[in-house]
């Protein structure tokens, strides 16, 4: 059974007297352990979809299910979010930040510490466990955020343009390391990005979204073998897929 | 802006309405809290009483004189210290000390030194206003973008031009804020001095009413002083807003 099922999801916002339809009739499903990315033009509701999936906003119509269970409120045990801004708590160390979700839940200290130290090691930051966010670079902070997202051992990790604020080289490296982490943990990842190259490089499937009101135009399977090296980004096959997606996005009616 | 106005009105209606209602419904002893209408009546009478007006005028003149003396003194001192930083460093501990220490505590000494007349109140008011305006004027001078001054000099601007075209607009917002705060503190100082030891003045009147349990008159006095001080504060704030904006635009390069 697919782990995520979205059927006919619609979301309307009222801004003053105007009704804005952010999402209309979005339907797709994600199998367990897959890496799925959503791309689309700016302002197509790309932010609304992950928030609906996370349960932080309620759908106007349609439904979202995780493991068959309907999502209408945040389910922190099952779904984690990583945002564009790492949003680490400035007064806590990296380790304390990773522990935070477990701390809130009352997980016992030694078990918590052990698990989170292991996670920091997984993202390559075990030497910085006792450093504060202001002592870390942007990329490092995002790694801490990823470790934090993994801490509650969720079924699904939502990543909303997590690398958008990083410079290109850091971004590329982070993508590569993210795949590493994903392969080691076997989590299901739902990733959102503006960057077509990033989407293709990282995912098993790319969902292409139309401009507002957002709907899924097409699902494209990415068949490059894993583990993927960064070289494939320059290959001809890669370029063809990229062009295909670009055409889909730029030619879809607004 | 609209939310603020709505907020004001709502809170005013709630408070004043609540006051009147509490008194009318006899929820509280009328001796402790006379009704708003009663207080307004008394206030109306007071405003027609020449002695009351004389006291009001006395207090107002004390505040005015103190402010008019303190402001230019403080602004020029602040300017001087801002331009001659070595002086500022020498005076820094003094100013710091004064600001950390509650000046009102020195009132008895003022009285020992100067008695309880017009002079003593004015001096007390001056000390309250002076330091706030000084600090703000200092900050105002320091806030002038030095590269702008250098550039102006390169372009051959005269001293007068630099002062009027660059210094003045840049300093104005902070100085106006300082003046407003100085006025508020000056009023507090003068009123305190009057309440503490004085023969005439609004402060003394209000304190006497308090000692004599004359609650309606007391409330009338409080309402009047509150309205007047809020009016002065808001007027100065408006000036801050408009003059500041005007000069900012005028000096925009």
């Amino acid at each position: 059974m697919p782990i995520i099922e979205v059927s006919k999801l619609g979301k309307d916002f009222s801004s003053g007297r105007v009704l804005v339809r952010a999402l209309a009739d979005v339907s797709f499903s994600v199998e367990e352990g897959r890496f799925v990315t959503l791309v689309g033009p700016s302002g197509c509701g790309k932010a609304t979809l992950p928030q609906s999936l996370a349960g932080v906003i309620a759908a106007t119509s349609g439904e979202v299910r995780i493991e068959g269970e309907r999502i209408c409120a945040p389910m922190p045990n099952k779904i984690s979010m990583v945002f564009q801004d790492p949003t680490l708590l400035p007064w806590k160390t990296a380790l304390a930040n990773v522990e935070f979700p477990l701390d809130l839940r009352g997980v016992e200290r030694t078990a918590r510490r052990k698990r989170c130290s292991a996670l920091l090691e997984l993202v390559g930051l075990n030497e910085f466990a006792n450093h504060y966010p202001h002592e870390l670079s942007g990329g490092m902070r995002q790694r801490v955020a990823i470790a934090r997202g993994l801490a509650p051992d969720p079924r699904l990790i939502l990543m909303d343009e997590p690398f958008a604020a990083l410079d290109e080289q850091t971004r590329t490296r982070m993508g590569h390391d993210l795949l590493d982490i994903w392969e080691k943990t076997g989590k299901t990842v739902f990733f959102i990005t503006h960057s077509l190259a990033e989407a293709i490089y990282l995912s098993d499937f790319v969902l292409v979204m139309s401009p507002r009101p957002g709907r899924i135009i097409k699902t494209i399977a990415i068949d490059f073998p894993r583990p993927r090296e960064l070289d494939i980004i320059g290959s001809e096959a890669f370029g063809r897929i990229r062009n295909r997606i670009w055409h889909l996005i730029s030619e879809s009616p607004a | 802006m609209r939310a603020a106005l709505a907020g004001y009105l709502t809170i005013a209606i709630v408070l004043l309405g609540g006051w009147e209602l509490t008194a009318r419904l006899d929820l509280v002893d009328a001796d402790l809290l006379p009704s708003l209408s009663q207080v307004c009546g008394i206030l109306w009478q007071l405003l027609h009483d020449p002695r009351f007006i004389a006291d009001l005028g006395l207090t107002a003149s004390e505040v005015a004189v103190a402010f008019v003396i303190a402001a230019p003194l403080a602004i020029s001192s602040g300017f001087l210290l801002g331009e001659r930083l070595h002086l500022a460093e020498a005076f820094n501990p003094v100013v710091h000390f004064v600001l950390a220490v509650p000046q009102s505590i020195f009132l008895p000494v003022f009285i020992l030194a100067f008695g309880i007349g017009f002079l003593e109140k004015i001096l007390f008011g001056i000390t309250h206003a002076y330091f706030v305006i000084l600090v703000n004027s200092f900050a105002a001078v320091r806030s002038i973008p030095r590269p702008l001054v250098a550039a102006a000099r390169v372009f051959g601007a005269t001293r007068a031009q630099i002062y009027t075209r660059i210094y003045l607009p840049a300093m104005l917002p902070l100085i106006l804020t300082g003046l407003r705060l100085g006025m508020v503190l000056c009023i507090i100082g003068v009123l305190l001095a009057e309440m503490y030891a004085s023969r005439r003045g609004i402060g003394r009147l209000i304190f006497t009413w308090g000692e004599g349990y004359q609650v309606p008159e007391l409330l009338a006095g409080i309402v009047l002083v509150s309205v007047l001080t809020i009016a002065v504060n808001e007027a100065m704030r408006l000036a801050e807003l408009h003059l500041g904006r005007f000069y900012a635009r005028a000096s925009a390069v």
């Binding site: 932080v56 | 603020a4 509650p102 009132l107 008895p108 000494v109 508020v184 305190l192 001080t229």
Partner: protein, 253 residues
């Protein structure tokens, strides 16, 4: 072993005291206006017990007022700050009320609550409440949405969100409010003691002023200043400890 800075400070202090004594003894300043250190010491020797008792009363009043002002100010500040409509409506009103010289309300408190410690404590709370509440409201309002979104996504309960995320984030702003407000509490209590009281340091200062016992007046002032300075030092310590967060927060950006 004392550091060289401490020795330097002590030497300066000793010199000042010696000069002070000389200035008064040589008649350069009237003995009624300025008490010599020896006069102060004499007053302490004579009425030390009385002053200590008064000191204790004042400390008790200030302590109680600080506790209540902090609780009310922070509590109300967090609640109002969390409700954007309420905050937008009340903030301008609160800052306008700030212009009213609170001292004018004391005679009302006198009439209602008498001249014992209660009226002082209430006045102290009133004095400190507004800056604390205003700054807390600002601090809470300034919290970026992303932190609240994070709190929801990570499953924090309402209480957890307030205690573990909102409160620490608003802390730097809260602290400025606490500094200003607490200073005003101290001043408020001591000044109202001076105006009308049965006991406390302010009362003794006023009492001895009327008798021209300048030595006693200055002894009282020294004790009052000691309280003010100690509170200031305590707040600075608090500020420094929590101020580290401000740096981190700005860097995290």
């Amino acid at each position: 072993m004392m550091g060289s800075r401490t020795i330097k400070a002590l030497v300066i202090a000793a010199t000042i005291v010696a000069l002070w004594e000389a200035v008064v003894r040589l008649g350069l300043v009237n003995q009624i206006i300025l008490a010599a250190p020896s006069d102060i010491a004499l007053a302490a020797a004579k009425d030390g017990g009385l002053f200590l008792r008064a000191f204790a009363t004042t400390i008790m009043e200030i302590g109680a007022a600080i506790l209540i002002a902090w609780t009310l100010g922070i509590g109300l500040g967090v609640v109002v700050g969390s409700l954007p409509v309420l905050a937008a409506a009340t903030a301008p009103v609160l800052s306008s009320i700030f212009a009213i010289p609170l001292i004018i309300l004391y005679p009302l408190l006198m009439a209602w609550l008498g001249i014992g410690p209660l009226s002082k404590i209430v006045f102290g709370v009133l004095s400190g409440f507004f800056p604390i509440a205003l700054n807390t409201i600002d601090g809470v309002r300034a919290i970026e949405r992303r932190y609240l979104l994070f709190a929801r996504s990570v499953g924090a309960t309402r209480l957890q969100t307030y205690v573990r995320i909102v409160f620490p984030l608003a802390l730097p702003a809260m602290l400025s409010g606490l500094r200003i407000g607490t200073g005003l509490v101290v001043i408020g209590v001591i000044v109202t003691e001076m105006l009308a009281s049965l006991g406390g340091i302010g009362f003794l200062i006023s009492y001895h002023r009327t008798l021209f016992n300048t030595g006693h007046v200055y002894l009282g002032m020294v004790l009052a200043l000691a309280i003010a300075v100690t509170v200031n030092i305590g707040l600075t310590w608090l500020d420094r400890r929590i101020g580290l967060w401000r740096m981190r927060e700005q860097a995290e950006g």
